[in-house]
Symmetry: C3
Subunit: 346 residues, 3 copies
């Protein structure tokens, strides 16, 4: 495990020390879990009162830090959370422990092109005509099909499967067990009630800085490719059907499913287990609630939830009204009685 003085950390993350810059920091932790030697952080001044009881050796705080105890060591920064993330990276540098080299058990087709400083782990397969960029990491047991392109600094964790003709950008990260480029689900029922397969012959194009979670599945396109934009992040067990398009910087939370040919805009958030129907357009910056079932296109900027999904405020009102239903039914009974009496008196 690495260790740094607080002064060294300050230099690297561009912060200012308040306290002893020679103190030794040996790890990172949340405020409550921190022990002697750790550096922690407080992102919100509301929580400055928790600093007194932490065991952390140093705490990263923001500029407005008047109320913090004097007997601790601090790193003062503009954005404590982002600076803490940079500090975590210092202690756990991603990808750093992959010494470039190719394991003796790999099966690489002689026509594949492999870039410089590439790490290829045990039992990896790379098919004919594929191109692997520089500084790429293919961890053990990952599979790369034929005519695949993987650009610089992208990393496949153990057991990732990239099928033929998939094109992947720079600095992507693929979690274990995800499958990229499986056949889309396309069948035509013939006159005998038999489902005939529609050949799925196009590819899958993935931008830069994409992260795809464990055991996700992304299908290749039917006649034109499926597209995942730059900076898109998918959680685990997400399903993206053939010819889906996702705009830059959108987030897709665990177990979401997106049906065929739907176009998702930029900076969209799809919460866990939501389902999006086929051939829809979801505008930029739309937020879809957890478990929502989206059956229509959604204009940009909207927040929707429920099944079928509707504007979030409306969905909440429906739920609230539903809980008032017993009351409504009682009111009607009362009204009936009173009208009965009024009629009798006639």
């Amino acid at each position: 495990m690495s260790k740094f003085t607080l002064g060294e950390i300050a230099k690297k993350i561009k912060g200012r020390v308040k306290g002893d810059s020679n103190v030794i920091v040996t790890g990172v932790a949340g405020l409550e879990e921190a022990k002697n030697g750790d550096i922690s952080f407080v992102a919100n001044r509301r929580y400055y009162n928790r600093i007194a009881s932490t065991k952390a050796t140093a705490v990263i705080v923001g500029e407005d830090n008047g109320a913090i105890p004097d007997d601790k060591n601090y790193l003062v920064v503009e954005n404590p959370y982002l600076s803490f993330l940079m500090t975590v990276e210092l202690f756990y540098p991603q990808n750093s422990n992959f010494v470039p080299g190719i394991h003796s058990t790999v099966v690489i087709d002689p026509t594949a092109e492999i870039g410089e400083r590439v790490y290829i782990g045990a039992l990896v397969v790379v098919g004919a005509g594929s191109k692997i960029g520089n500084d790429v990491i293919l961890q053990a047991r990952s599979y790369v099909g034929e005519r695949v392109v993987i650009d610089d600094n992208t990393r496949l964790m153990p057991g990732v499967i990239i099928l033929d003709d998939v094109v992947i950008g720079k600095r992507c990260l693929f979690q274990s067990g995800c499958v990229l480029g499986s056949d889309g689900f396309g069948f035509v029922c013939d006159n005998n009630g038999i489902q005939q397969k529609i050949p799925q012959v196009s590819g899958l194009i993935i931008g830069d800085d994409v992260e795809i979670g464990a055991n996700c599945t992304i299908d290749r396109g039917t006649l034109s490719p499926t597209h995942i934009g730059n900076g898109v992040k998918c959680d685990n067990l997400v399903h993206l059907a053939h010819n889906v398009e996702i705009g830059d910087n959108s987030l897709v939370v665990a177990q979401v499913g997106i049906s065929g040919s739907t176009k998702i805009g930029k900076s969209v958030v799809l919460a866990g287990q939501a389902g999006i129907g086929g051939h829809l357009r979801i505008g930029d910056r739309v937020k879809v609630g957890a478990q929502a079932g989206v059956t229509k296109s959604v204009p940009e900027g909207m927040e929707i939830s429920g099944y079928p999904a509707r504007p979030h405020g409306e969905a909440l009102r429906s739920q609230a009204l539903l809980s008032r239903l017993p009351n409504v039914i009682q009111q009607i009974k009362d009204l009936l009685n009173r009208v009965n009496k009024l009629e009798e008196k006639k």
Copy 2:
């Protein structure tokens, strides 16, 4: 990439050329994406007006084609869509680029029987007593356990896992990462609150012409086998529990889950993310809506949706009424006021 004259394609898919039968076709594409050299199609006469602007070299159309422009080349057929699929197959013949042969890195038990013209890719494992039919394709890194039977012309894509005692028919296709024959989820809570495992000792039988999507899981049966009928197609990330039975030609869309011992009829469609409870019977030709939660058996031919699932028309009415609730509550308020006044006047 292959190329054909339009006349050659006409012969192979049994169509009639209208235009130049010597023109060279080099690819397939949708009408809008098509470029010079491509063949495309129009399945519905409503869209014949889009032909004028396509860049396709030739277009497949139906018999009722009076309104199409004269300056294009056509293939006239009975069913343009099915004929187009056949044309796609001409350009992208499935399974054709697997030259029979067994990679040097495979681990095949000496008691396994391997048929003729079989392709076995890198790092494939085949266990003791398994039988692999003729013309089977086991792509790289696929795993076949012990006493497995795989019949002729079936294909496992990279990374498929077939566990012990699974029996598979002819012409099936398994997408990457699917797991066939995992243990069912069966436990009995003993007197100490500890869940004791119910041994899952039976198998899994899969018919002919079945396709199973990426990262699906199908459990073996407890004491008698799980059954998947002929022509069943499963999309990605589908879960089929122990002792499920699915009738011929049913479609199971992505992320559907079917609980233990439920019997699904023939030609059923289960839309995405639907969940089917345990020990139910879903009749032939039933259609279950996306995200529906099926808690009761369903007679044949019904269309159901919602949670808990009910006849689709009824579910739609419930949703419509729910949106009228604010109105209903206002009406009751008005009634109350009017009855109050009536009572005062007495």
Copy 3:
């Protein structure tokens, strides 16, 4: 296949023979599927009338067995179901067909420590610094990363992926394709709308007697580890996010998703496709219905269902009232008419 006399089985499962203890039993089956030679069981006296028509050679019954036919052979026990499970184990002893040994194709780092009587199948990878206990079974193509600890008698089925720093207890069973220790889904949106990854640097700790289903994904913790208690059982395709904690003996049914930092109590049951929000506390012995969407913490012992999840009785009442809505709306129309008439008469 093994065979036993009924007397031998009686001895092993501590039951009493009623009938011929020399009869030969060659298999186990349900009452209806049983054929000559099988032993079956009846767990509930209500079903004793089905014994007359079974083809089973022997039947396991409870002590209160007055009404059973005389011409069959029985094993009389306290708990017929648990005794039947023990009998199934006799015929299909789990893990017994793994002769200890290490396949010649494995890739095991020289710094890994391997216990005694371990089975390691074809193409298994074990990384640096990992410790494999005694009697562990690592089936073909399973992957164990660096610094992983796997305690005695645990079994990985083919294709399981255990990533770096995961710690696993005794007697666990991992079904094929599950991924343990993938990165959690943590990002911070910076000022440019770019999602910056929060490094996921902690581990995953799994207790004793845990079973994890096929293609499940369990994420490592961000700064402190994710925790799975003793005796927890997960069905297939379950997603457990970073820093989730699950108490002892809880059951998680297929396709459930649990969001980050949520703490699940002991002996909880989460039914299929349920989704649990982040940072919640679900009390001991809570039961969550299938497809429920849990948005708030739940006190111990409660049964909840629906979306958003509420007490199960209340959810059922809401559904019932919803089905009465058309009636309610008709009643209001009638009332309006009657009040109109009353007002006219004034």
